[in-house]
Symmetry: C2
Subunit: 340 residues, 2 copies
Amino acid sequence: MSPTIYDVARYAGVGVGTVSRVLNNSSRVSEATRQKVLDAIEALDYHPNPIAQRLSLRRTFTVGVITPFFTRPAFVGRLRGVEAALTESEYDLVLYNVETTDKRDACFRELPTSQRFDGLLIIALPPTDEDVAHFHQAGIPVVLIDAYHPALSHVVIDDVKGGYMATKHLIELGHTRIAYISDPLESPFRFTSSLHRYQGYRQALDEAGIPFRPEYHRWAEHGEEQARDLARHLLDLAEPPTAIFAASDTQAIGAMEAIRERGLRVPQDVALVGYDDIEVSHYLGLTTVRQPFFETGVKGVEVLLQAIDYPPGEPLHIELPIELVCRRSTVGGAIPPEND
Amino acid sequence: MSPTIYDVARYAGVGVGTVSRVLNNSSRVSEATRQKVLDAIEALDYHPNPIAQRLSLRRTFTVGVITPFFTRPAFVGRLRGVEAALTESEYDLVLYNVETTDKRDACFRELPTSQRFDGLLIIALPPTDEDVAHFHQAGIPVVLIDAYHPALSHVVIDDVKGGYMATKHLIELGHTRIAYISDPLESPFRFTSSLHRYQGYRQALDEAGIPFRPEYHRWAEHGEEQARDLARHLLDLAEPPTAIFAASDTQAIGAMEAIRERGLRVPQDVALVGYDDIEVSHYLGLTTVRQPFFETGVKGVEVLLQAIDYPPGEPLHIELPIELVCRRSTVGGAIPPEND
DNA sequence: TGGTATAATGGAAGCGGTTCCATATGGAAC
DNA sequence: GTTCCATATGGAACCGCTTCCATTATACCA
């Protein structure tokens, strides 16, 4: 059995209150007794029981993190920031990976009222009004990362702007036949990124007076392979696009494969822009819209921990900057197989 | 304030013991009172406080999971299995991502004695004897996934065999100039996979009477880009290899890039075998040694939960099967850019 | 009818902390 | 020498459960 605070108190010849005070280096304790207690702790190799602390303090010191498909770079990247920030704090991170809407709904329903968390962090999964009402009723702070709801604090990027930036970049390079490939604009998970980037894409086209061609927008389930197929269809069009904007780098890489298959060159024959700036993008020379995954996760934790200690009157809206990163897939030399 | 068991007891007109019995549907409770209690629970929207349960039961119902670089497919894949299995259980999963040896050492030192976990799951990070002594002293069950220590239960694959299988496959295809690219065989994280696969590689060469050429083994930090550089060096040799075995699919993909750059064909000019069978490998037509990431994670959880309830006398050694998956990078048609 | 085994139930004690309150101590002020 | 206050300290009560033990109610049998 591990020693308890009573063992320490007895060993040090003091009361448990005093030991507790030393542990929380609070209130005044005389230097002499403090040292006696510290010696006892050392001698007994005492570690306070966090469960008992949590019960007594009525705080769980635990944050629940709900993320979809955490194998995908965009999600695991944010999770990495969340983990790093939480490790710096005194909070534990309990992880939930959501790969079905059933599990998402179960998480949304059960976790807030489970009394296991001081706060909840939700990545990329927008809750319904009903969900949010449930969160509020449970009285638990919830922060969204890369998702939006008017009544919840959230840390986001401006995907409309990102789509706009990517498309505008292609337009400025002289392209007018610009395709967009993405996830379905509406999905059971209610992911919004593909839709918002689409809106930015449309906006940039409109602004440049380029008519939108429905056949230039293709979508499929997320994935490199699916994107490759989409790109193949685009290249098979009677009038194929000269540029493709993909809603994620993963999909851009799929498109790149399709372009290569055809023996076409990037960017000379088809220019390519992705989104996310995942690790391999730098190395593939992929022009992309960089979003700060890690920082988004860190910021989400900051907002949540702040909300736990000082509930904000109004939900916070935090937007992190994105950045167009120009690489070989739109400007400069060709990329493999033609590069040197 | 959330209602407590006392509120439920009062509302139902019974004692707290009875409510507790209903909650744990244990001991005999008359059908009538059970119903009264259930009604009260319903009416008050009562949820038992798990912290109080944990304190009373002196179990945390929490498992700590320590994984290195959880953005890498091999680790996140196992973590996914761990998460899925833990979700099925009544245990929470508290995550620690290790990207420095300092953090690893801090986790190994502090988590076992923190009294926060009923068990610890460690992915791919072999502990030292000293670490293990510390675990035992703390009296906490620890299960290793994809790592080995004689005194700890572990779930592994046979990497020596995997390296052997991959190499033998290339030998059977007639190759004799077979290179191996990998992480450094020794790393501060003490990862063993590159080393074991190397041993299998050497074994297969020996068995076939093919002399080992030191210049055919190159290593660098893990990563696609680093592997591409390694492969470039190999291809620059006076007598370049006709086949490359990479210690991971990520590295094989890097090698594939290097081969393409040179305008060489896979597999005609250079055959390629990877390891892991990550998601894109299927799609890239990469021959590889498949290891069951998800299942490994699930199994690790099973072993740990079992060990928590019934400490095994001897540590369990569990080995999951691996499988050579033959694809276009060694057999059959060429792969991009030459494929159709 | 009384005795006894059995089922159902209430409630105190305990899990291991924190914190409030009461008390002890020592010195300063008068 | 007494009073008073600040500081240090001990310990009970409490956080919200589980469980053991004692008690009561019920049923069965002789």
